[in-house]
Symmetry: D2
């Protein structure tokens, strides 16, 4: 491996991109070389070599070198000239779908934050209507793509060329369920419910009727009931059929954070200690999962961290559980997880730069 | 019946009390006689005959007579002197438990907003640990108490002497479920989930760690999982056992409003039209329920109204439904429902003063 | 005057339009005839005669007739056919500027919520760059336009054909200052400061970068410093020069409400009682102004009312005052004031339908 | 100087204490030795040696050593046993007033976040009614106390034994004004206005009527007009008399952040470039001040940083300025500034651990 790793970020103007910039700029192993930030630059800014990053994200201004960072006009040549090793795509899925093939051909390793390469089953991809769906090239790339949830796929991520960073909702539902399913505790016939609530940053930076302050503030709404795009990820990663689970997202009047309330029936009565042990065993080598013993996690504790927090309650008879998971949709649900994947991909300590 | 009805409110200082005052003051059939507001008055305010209501709730000040309204020192004699017919108790359950017997003896009709007289089963009352639990007098009063959900018990409320106004969460969960259960559609073996989210006013006016702005804002938390006090109401009114339902409340970072997301499995596949008809039939004569045909209700639409809003989605196979209900916890969940009960109790149009 | 008055509203889709609809629908003198709601209707909705109002504003659904109300395709003929007497324009200023002449020619009385006809001085209108600026017709219309702040111009509004409803910020700054200026108390040489803070609804319903939840929430920002469009209204109505006042608006992370903190130096030391008397005298016949004696107003008390709340503090020497005014930008700052103007215009009680 | 510095924090349970813990735990020069956290510990927790810090502040839990940190029962002996060099007091002013003398006698260096030792003038201290006011000992300690605003007093803080960390409002008003006053630009006869707005964390962790979510949310209120306790700090540090300035604090419905809008008249007309140069010169060696050239700062950009952000606008004639400053009341307004003071006190780079 090279002494120093050079990263590049496409899509720094969005919310996940801003967090990614912040994390990469302070990552202990990346300090010597700031990421290349590239993307679409307007004509008028070409003369000054791009747009200063602190004009886009004033909060990144510091007394050191951040003032010199720029969003530069993208070209593959630019990445080559700068010796980029790892490319982060914080771009819409159409764009990621289009760019990843060339990036891989050019020898770049890619961590893609979109849904472009997450799904192995065609019926789950249908909702995205990818233009190259069914092509051999797309199939070959999907084949080598690794779903970037380190708690499940650490070994395949280590050394991967293409990591498909999971969706924020998907992460918040897969992590609390996978240990119980793997341990064979859950009665699937009675169905699993995942009732999720997300802050507004999950809806992206584009101003729309639903991201208007007047729509989101003082409100709560369910949406995409039975039809949310992350459902495919959930089912594939959990090995469930659509009949075995209901996933309902809600829009919370807060900037960031997801709380998922997950309901399961057990096949046999369980004890609190037993269930706790199942979780501890599953996550024993997972630095970014925090298990709550005597309380339930809340959004306020996980926001602005890269942790996924998990806690649970059993009913009196030990036949049902309510599991609560919390995470920051922009960190463990996006940019933080991407950096965690970078760490695993390169064989660095998994939590480096994330605590 | 008397020409004009005189009301009194105990507990006007709280959030529900303030809404009750507002509603009664503008009620078309009560305009001629403002309610008597009575309660504990500090020594220093006795000289001026009590505390001006607009000092307690500045938003009630108007250019008319509100400035003269006072919170007066409570005594039974005061109520008698003023010719009070109907007494609203917006008081803690301990106080309602203690006062209702005397009120009834004195010939007052009572609408009690607390949980004191809502529950018919002793095991469900256990959580409140009433001092007079098991006494004959308490049993006799409970016997005549009517659970004040007009959509279910309109006929018994009409003419009742004591109405036990439902809990806010209970209202938001009973209304969306009762029609489906009554129609026999629901597969109880697979369990019902009610995932509810409430604004902070539901936690009351007392400053606590959990009502602190810094705790509630930008946060979401589940609480009282498997143990919330409103569970007994739900089960009694829905005719369910504790094994057949899970109810999970969450604290939302908004001032007011409840959204409940309710999950059921059907015994047999249903059509959207069929389920919609079940709801329409059940609520055909219910002016305070709004059914949503082509969308789901949201908190913003029901807040500051007395409506319970209900909408639903079926899965592709018609085997499962997600039902969403919304209401204002201080209105349909408390003060508005109390006025609705007043209307029904006295044979007035049910929505009078509430639209 | 006709027995019943028929109103029409153009611009019901916006925030002020929604409030206007709500107020007019419940106005005691207008109950027999719902307003005509007219505007741009898409092709696909023409077949059903327009868009049901409750699709646009679900919160307006009731158990009565609101479900039948429609946003109909606008034409002058429609207004004539329905016998419209008074036209409310809750439209952008360009549109109001273009439509008012024809409305007046057709004999309609107009209450215009935009800035189109508020300003008598050309230099203050310059910021709006009206297309017909300088024309004789525009001058003639401006001549008959009355600035619709009833607390200042009640007599001219009574009987007016065209009322220019004031800006929300302007209302919140003019009302606390006018009594002190009229009484000659203020030392203008030392300058007046009006530091105003407004909720997001003031920025309108169009989704923009600044109305995005992620921009407004958990934030506060000053904007349009020294350049805000309402400055002209302030100066004209207060009789001040630009050198004598600074007005700074801020965007508050709340849905609605304005609080203005106003700073003045007195020419001579004043007493609290003396200043209070100045305010009482000035507003003695103003039902929609509430004066605070022993406290300062807060946004929470005026929101969802049509009141302008005013309170003040003097420094120890009585030489300076901080005056705080609060109002709801959509009510006293827009739709409520428009209805107040309707009342005055038609000789009805000023607060009718507003308390 | 010792190789490694040992710190201790009293008052870690509050909001500023939590931030202080977070900053000290990640400070590059303090990593080898976690701070001692000491305070009042309940009887029941003595057996386990205190309360785990992550029980008090769950957000501090990590995969490393934070789980072992404890809030231990305070004693001077404990501090001595651990070899504490620098003591942070995040305590009420009464407690700081009482403890600082002994801490200094025991050879500890102290950074006190309260107002206990900030004020040199007795009349300004009067509002705090210190018990030892007027004593020789208190006078001697006050004499050696340094007001801990590094941008003004860097040289005296370097090497100080007692640093009085400034108030949050005071910091946000002093920084934007001091450069203009020092340069002699301001016309004091016409008065300075500082209109400040603070998030709720500034009101402390104790649940009160004013920190209740229902009071603060969707609201804005001015308070302590002409009487706020930070006024004394402002006047002393700015060299102004009470007649020359008005300071008005407001409570914002956000968790954290202060924005101060400051109004000055200039003696002579100024240019934007000239004023900008005055600021640049004054803060040329101040890494924690960010000057805004072409925009105004907003709360969102400074929150969760230790920066004080400053921007301004002049009127057309260059005779008046509106200056806007923003900072995080818990960081640059409290804990971050305390760490900045630690850095300066010990001769470390001023921004170490703060960017």
């Amino acid at each position: 491996m090279k002494e120093t790793i050079q990263t590049a970020v496409i899509g720094v103007t969005g919310y996940a991109g801003a967090e990614l910039a912040r994390l990469l700029l302070r990552h202990p192993r990346l300090r010597s070389t700031a990421p290349v930030f590239a993307g679409r630059v307007e004509e008028k800014d070409l003369a000054r070599g791009g747009v200063p990053l602190v004009e886009i994200h004033p909060q990144l201004a510091d007394s050191g070198g951040n003032g010199k960072l720029k969003l530069e006009p993208f070209s593959w040549q630019l990445l080559a000239d700068r010796g980029v090793d790892v490319l982060f795509l914080a771009t819409p899925h159409e764009q990621s779908r289009a760019w990843v093939p060339e990036a891989l051909e050019r020898g770049l390793r890619v961590i893609d934050l979109s849904a472009a390469w997450r799904l192995t089953e065609a019926r789950n991809r249908a909702v995205y209507a990818f233009e190259d769906e069914g092509s051999e090239r797309a199939a070959a790339i999907q084949e080598q793509s690794v779903y970037g949830l380190p708690e499940l796929h650490r070994e395949r991520i280590d050394g991967a060329r293409l990591v498909a960073n999971p969706g924020c909702y998907a992460t918040s539902v897969i992590l609390p369920l996978k240990p119980l399913l793997t341990a064979g505790l859950v009665d699937l016939d009675r169905g699993i419910i995942a009732d999720s609530k997300s802050g507004v940053s999950g809806a992206g930076k584009a101003p729309t009727a639903k991201t208007h302050f007047m729509y989101a503030a003082d409100n709560l709404s369910a949406y995409a009931v039975f039809t949310h795009r992350h459902t495919g990820e959930l089912l594939e990663q959990l090995g469930l059929t659509a009949d075995e689970m209901v996933f309902t997202p809600h829009l919370l009047p807060i900037p960031r954070g997801i709380l998922s309330t997950v309901y399961v029936h057990f096949k046999e009565p369980q004890t609190r200690a037993g269930v706790a042990q199942v979780y501890r065993d599953f996550f024993s080598s997972c630095p970014m999962v925090r298990l709550y013993d005597h309380a339930l996690p809340q959004i306020q504790y996980s926001v602005r961290t890269n942790y996924a927090d998990i806690g649970f309650q059993l009913d009196g008879g030990g036949r049902r559980a309510v599991i609560v998971s919390c995470l920051d949709n922009l960190l463990k649900g996006a940019a933080g997880q991407a950096v965690q994947n970078l760490n695993v991909m390169l064989g660095w300590p998994e939590a480096e730069g994330l605590e």
